[in-house]
Amino acid sequence: MRDLRERLGKEWLVCDGGTGTILQSKGLKGGELPETWNLTRPEDIIDLHCGYLRAGCDIFNTNTFGANALKLPGNLKEVVTAAVELAKEARRRAGREDAYIALDIGPTGKLLEPLGDLSFDRAVELFGEVVRYGSEAGADLVLIETMSDSYEAKAAVLAAKENCGLPVCITVTFDEKGKLLTGGSVDSTVALLEGLRVDALGVNCGLGPEQMIPIVERLTQVCSIPVIVNPNAGLPRTEGGRTVYNVGPEEFSDWMEKIAAMGVHVVGGCCGTTPDHIRLTAERVKELPFREPVRKRRTVVSSFSQCVEIGPLPVIIGERINPTGKKKFKQALRDNDIEYILREGLRQEDSGAHILDVNVGLPEIDEPSMMASVVQKLQSVLDLPLQIDTTDAQALERGMRIYNGKPMVNSVNGKRESIETVFPLVRKYGGVLVALVLDEDGIPSDAEGRVRIARRIYEAADRYGVPREDIVIDGLAMTISSDTTSALTTLETLRRVRDELHGHTILGVSNISFGLPRRALINSHFLTMALQSGLSAAIMNPGNEEMMESYRAYCALAGLDPQCMRFIEAYGGTPEPVRVSAAGTAGGNSGTGNAGGSGAKNAGSTGAMGLFESVERGMAESAAAAAREALKSKEPLVLIDQELIPALDKVGKGFEKGTVFLPQLLMSAEAAKAAFDVVKETLQGQSQEVKGRIILATVKGDIHDIGKNIVKVMLENYGFEVLDLGKDVSPETIAETAVREDIRLVGLSALMTTTVVSMEETIRLLHEVKPDVKTVVGGAVMTQEYADAIHADCYAKDAMATVHFAEEVFKEG
């Protein structure tokens, strides 16, 4: 038998058609697992395969679509092995020893974290088990199909690659809008799967051939590897309790002929298609001229939902998730305060970044674990692709593995060790790789030396099977304060990489001004010059308004902003910013490259409302401004005692009386927090009083955390420090943390009656390991009776009640 990899993309290949429809006609009942027929009705399965083999398919699926340890916990190996054996037997009987047995793998039926509760690693394990059994039994390839979540698709592909050496093909299911159920697009899915080096990819199920045409069109435009198209026989309807499809074999093959001619390489069918559909399709498609896949040479990265192309439009990579030179960020890493990092990410997305750099390197923390955890959390709240930035190989792999998409990778350099460490990871997981033009001899002082290293890195990419378009060369921006020709060298490097090597480039732009005053001034001009010299990606602070201005103006001037729409969207209707001509008096925002969120937007927005009123009305910006104003004439502590606390108390009392409602209470709390933050800046150095430290957690099995988050905001406002353990937290984790941190009060939340059991278990364990700890419980189903029954010390009906209980507990001393 010829290796399938030699034939894929070289000649027409045909897949088989529907399984469920045929088994139903043989008597499969609704709700019965079709895979069990491998053991109970083997002849029917052989018959099913023979039908397709005689119809002329080249690749046919084992009856293992739903086979995994979740659905078949007792006899998975037996079922999978039997499935492959039946396929072999069918091949013999049909006289089709040339046909390939595809180990069929479908979704688990569970959503992966953070959407659901199946962890990524567990998903890889579940798929891996099936792959091992199937390949041991003699399958010729792995065909992963009907995936509607990019993350699960990634888990399945990794499992296939890590557990066998067979070709791996995958088809996913899009809706009529071209989206996966979890939001991925054709572009983002192709980026991910090509990065994982599958042998062919495509679409199946969900739609009929006609509805698939726009999706196939986009697929063939972006895909560089063989494309598979396996549609349903049209759209389903129920007839007498049975699902039937509306496109017959003749019409189906008409459509498939059209689809094949669009630049597809493998055709077949899914639900509702029969051997007749496949026979006609095979006959007609194999008459058509075959076009081999064409490499598209696009430089793309992706998140679960978005695909970002680097070039021709240059992109902005947000640099703020990085502890270098940031005291608060370092502290957040030490405290495992991931929310701080997430806020930094969300702010950059709002400011217009296209990709976010993620660097969490700090000597005293476990960087690989921190990287995995930050990447997971970031991708649960952000649409933007991430750039994994680390010098620790283990952290790099952990980040790349857990990432839901095709990441940017920062970085490799010309050193042998670096090449040997980083390229295999990019080959395995996919990614666009930032390549620094330095090597064992340091950084070449001229462009010639830098281009030489760039060439060497491209050659390494060829050796490792990483496409050249997945390399972006970092021309290395170094400060002009120590060498005034350094910018020129960098710019020449950019030009030569673009013109001679036809490659993309990247720079950490703000390095150029290190050690100089008015850094934003230098940075923004350098950015324009670099873009003009071919820069494809700028690593910078998107909150820096001057640099964003340069970027937007450049795009408008360079014909990269059709009708100047993006420029107008950013600046249309905003007044000319007022520039102060005397250097150094324009406020904090012109001095450094790191001033976040300043600029035109905030200018002149201060209202005249006082602090008390701002807090009472829940207006955060106005509260911060009022606090800043008031601090000019009042002592910080006086301000807190005379205005902030009374305003909070008034709103809190109103809430308890039922005249103020939850949204207002929270908006006031947020306004107070904004004011507190301003006051804290002036209090810097002086220790602030913490009334007590409290653990908050949503208990195991429960994924609703909004109530817990409300309580957290209120407690923090009243001066308590909260250790937020998140949601779905095991009793053990809560108990361990309480002991380790010597916590006196634990707040637990549960929304569902079903999870109150976990709450009870948590309290029991807490009493066992730390008898002096107090517990307060709350949540939608909670009542005083429930709370008493599970031995909680307090039932809090709302956030204010928790605050009162906390004050009581810590007053007792």
């Binding site: 959503l111 159920l181 969300l346 929270l666 569902m752």
Partner: protein, 222 residues
């Protein structure tokens, strides 16, 4: 298709008892609705099954449909006089959960309002799918009963597993169950809708039917 949630419902979910929120909050509500409308991907699936009754060991009434057997006094009452039952599942997709997670980090007050608005939107979407079912039943000369969900009254939440399997929810609408039987994405609903040849008391739905109605703070006023 635009899902426009009932603003009164959002305000009720936020805990306002017959009081109108101030302007700031009303503005936030509109902003949240707008964000949600961009983020939702509403999907649904439903199927009709014949309904029969049998007696269990203790001669309690059991309902049989779609290959499953349930004993629930509340559901039996709801399906009285019905010859068939629709199982339905709807979702707003993963978008609202993402927005709520984001707001939980940036601004909890917004998370609370998004939560309420998304819940109201889920109800609106349920009503729209319910209406399709009502019209379909009407074409066949049948009348629908108020929809009823697992977890209401004595109808066990474990029925979610059956409904998920029967309607193939993970594949059809992208909804799966956690080990603790919660639906993800969270803005999803499953329900049963009985159909009968007799026009009946199909208006009695909502709070009056709920076993928690005496203690619930979200109870509708009228």
């Amino acid at each position: 298709m635009e899902l426009s949630p009932d603003r009164k419902e959002i305000i009720r979910y936020l805990g306002y008892h017959g009081v109108s929120p101030d302007e700031e909050v009303l503005r936030e509500i509109e902003l949240c609705v707008e964000q949600l409308q961009k983020a939702v991907t509403p999907r649904y699936v439903y199927e009709k099954f014949p309904l029969s009754r049998s007696r269990g060991q203790n001669s309690e009434e059991q309902l049989c449909f779609a290959g499953i057997t349930v004993a629930s006094r509340n559901l039996s009452a709801n399906l009285q006089g019905c010859s068939a039952v629709y199982l339905m599942a709807v979702t707003l997709g993963p978008g609202p959960d993402l927005l709520i997670r984001r707001a939980g980090i940036e601004k909890v007050s917004r998370a609370v309002i998004l939560q309420a608005a998304a819940a109201a939107m889920t109800e609106t979407w349920c009503d729209q799918v319910n209406e399709r079912i009502r019209l379909e039943a009407e074409r066949n000369g049948l009348y629908t009963r108020p929809r009823y969900s697992p977890g209401y009254g004595d109808l066990p939440l474990t029925m979610q597993t059956d409904i998920s399997r029967i309607l193939n929810m993970p594949k059809e609408i992208g909804v799966s169950l956690t080990d603790s039987l919660l639906m993800t994405p969270s803005k999803s609903v499953t329900a049963l809708i009985g159909v009968s040849q007799i026009a009946g008391d199909c208006r009695r739905s909502g709070c009056a039917e709920c076993s928690a109605s005496s203690t619930c703070i979200y109870r509708a006023e009228s």
